[in-house]
Amino acid sequence: MANKLIDLQHITKSYGGNVVLDDLCLYVRENEFLTLLGPSGCGKTTTLRIIGGFETPDSGRVMFENRDISSLPPNKREVNTVFQKYALFPHMTIAENIAFGLKIRKKSASYIKDKIKYALKLVNLDGFEDRMPDSLSGGQQQRIAIARAIVNEPKVLLLDEPLGALDLKLRQDMQYELISLKNELGITFIYVTHDQEEALTMSDTIVVMNQGYIQQIGSPVDIYNEPENAFVADFIGDSNILPGIMIRDELVEILGAKFDCVDKGFGENNPVDVVIRPEDIDLLGEGEGIIDGVVTDTIFKGVHYEMCVMSRGFEFIVHSTDYYPVDSKVGISVHPFDIQIMNKPESEDEKAVEINE
């Protein structure tokens, strides 16, 4: 994973005065599974369309293997896209759909035939050659869309919320299929989604975006465990985000109580944001934790209970396998390394990180 395969340099794009991407810089390495994650309107799809060639950036450059391809039309790019609503050609059979790109490249009939067979096998739809797209289920259409894209042997496959239209069970199955597909093909995937679970499951690298800015780039583990700001923390999983004051290194004051932590370098007596994941809160007997609280709500979620605990005017969300009935008094405790400290947003640019959903 060494080379920069795609390098977006200072991309800016706006529609009618509405800035969608502002000075975006991002590179994608070879053979990487990179996910652009964010709420709708964050610019993730626009970024993908700029890579695909469907949009031209107002300024900035798109580099592909160190060549500037900013003005190259989509049909000349070595990337292929799997569209959100599949975009299968309704008047062509499955075989004709898959053969479309190959015919344009003037491949031989036997080559095309082999390729179709191979691709259909790859997506577990052998024998579907002569079917029409509208006779297929959503999941099947999605696989054909993938097959149609990969027979052209692109160096990069762009996927625009490809699982968005599928139901939950199918979506989970397809996630595993996509991972194994990527391993088989050994090419780069750039994946767009607003579903954090998809992103965490499949990606090598996640790019969290909001309002046209990149909020954080990192591995799924980094993003989940060490969100850099409140937006990322809130967007990835449930979390308790509290205002706090960094007393000194490795000690933070939350709700008037002092908590040990492992973060350093935030100065002394500085206001910060503190993230605590619901599953990282330990509930103990009253007086046994750092602060006390009262359970106000309990919901059984299958693997765990989701409880709301009111403490000093803040409502914590807690995930625990232990059951505490409503109105029971509990103590709250958090391991130092489960406390994540983040800077408060300051500059104009960082305003975008404020949760806007």
Binding site: G52, F54, K76, R77, F89, P90, H91, F100, G101, I104
Partner: protein, 279 residues
């Protein structure tokens, strides 16, 4: 009870709508040349029709005119719709605004305005002026038929074709046009019908010695219509009926991607405006 009165009302309205048609069909078999009494059954108007050079000439003119004007209007209109997809909203609404004028304008005003244009530009009126006029009032039907289809069109199929390496022109003919085809076809059919049935605009833009079926019928209204015209209209009506049946209730093969709709002038306005405004 309510539904009984409902059906009765419906039946009465249908009788009202179809009475003249039934009358014309009956007259086409009437031996007597007088309209007002029944002289016995005959097929002579049907056989004589094909030897009546005047009627056949008007019929040929009508068909050629309808076909040419619909064809040219379809090409111009489809190209215009395609071009408009690449325009800004304001430019598009400007063009759609002009397009609505002949649809909402009274035919007499449209006819008179074209007549004045031809008079002012000293063009002698005949087949070509009528053809130009028919193309003019036909293009809006094509546009109002194709434009909504463009809005429904899954734009990403075009992008998918580009993505798979197609040149834009190839992508249009291979992917976009097949999707539009049913709308283009109904645009063509509507244009054809409008041209076929038009009297008023033809009346103002025709020259001496030129006749379509409509203008021929109009000139005969006062001196009495040749029953062969009834025969011809009956044949045309039944032909359309059979064609419509086959187009819409295709018993064989795959369903077409979109049903081919044949609409009339006003219905086009309704359905195009009903779908959330005309751009």
């Amino acid at each position: 009870m309510k539904s009984f009165f409902g059906k009765m009302y419906l039946t009465l309205v249908l009788i009202f709508l179809y009475a003249p048609i039934a009358t014309l069909m009956i007259l086409s078999f009437n031996q007597s040349k007088s309209r007002s009494h029944w002289g016995g059954f005959t097929l002579e108007w049907y056989t004589g029709l094909f030897e009546n050079e005047e009627i056949m000439a008007a019929f040929r003119t009508t068909i050629i005119l309808a076909f040419l004007s619909a064809l040219i209007a379809t090409i111009l209109g489809t190209a215009a719709c395609t071009g408009m997809q690449f325009m800004k909203k304001r430019e598009r609404s400007f063009i759609m605004g002009i397009t609505n004028i002949p649809m909402l304008n009274a035919d007499i005003v449209t006819g008179v305005s074209l007549m004045l244009l031809f008079i002012a530009s000293r063009v002698s009126m005949g087949f070509s002026t009528v053809l130009l006029s028919h193309i003019t009032f036909n293009i809006p039907y094509v546009i109002l038929s194709v434009m909504p289809r463009y809005r429904e069109l899954n734009r990403s199929t075009y992008e998918a074709a580009l993505d798979l390496g197609a040149e834009p022109v190839y992508a249009f003919f291979r992917v976009v046009l097949p999707d539009l085809m049913s709308a283009v076809l109904s645009g063509f059919l509507m244009s054809f019908t409008m041209s076929l049935d038009d009297f008023i605009i033809t009346h103002f833009t025709q020259g001496p010695g030129f006749d379509t079926l409509s203008t021929k019928i109009y000139s005969e209204v006062k001196k009495g219509i040749n029953p062969e015209v009834y025969a011809l209209s009956t044949i045309m009506f039944l032909t359309v009926l059979v064609l419509l049946f086959f187009v819409n209730y295709k018993p064989w093969g795959k369903q077409p991607t979109g049903q081919i709709k044949v609409m009339t002038k006003r219905e086009v306005i309704v359905s195009s405006s009903g779908r959330g405004g005309r751009l």
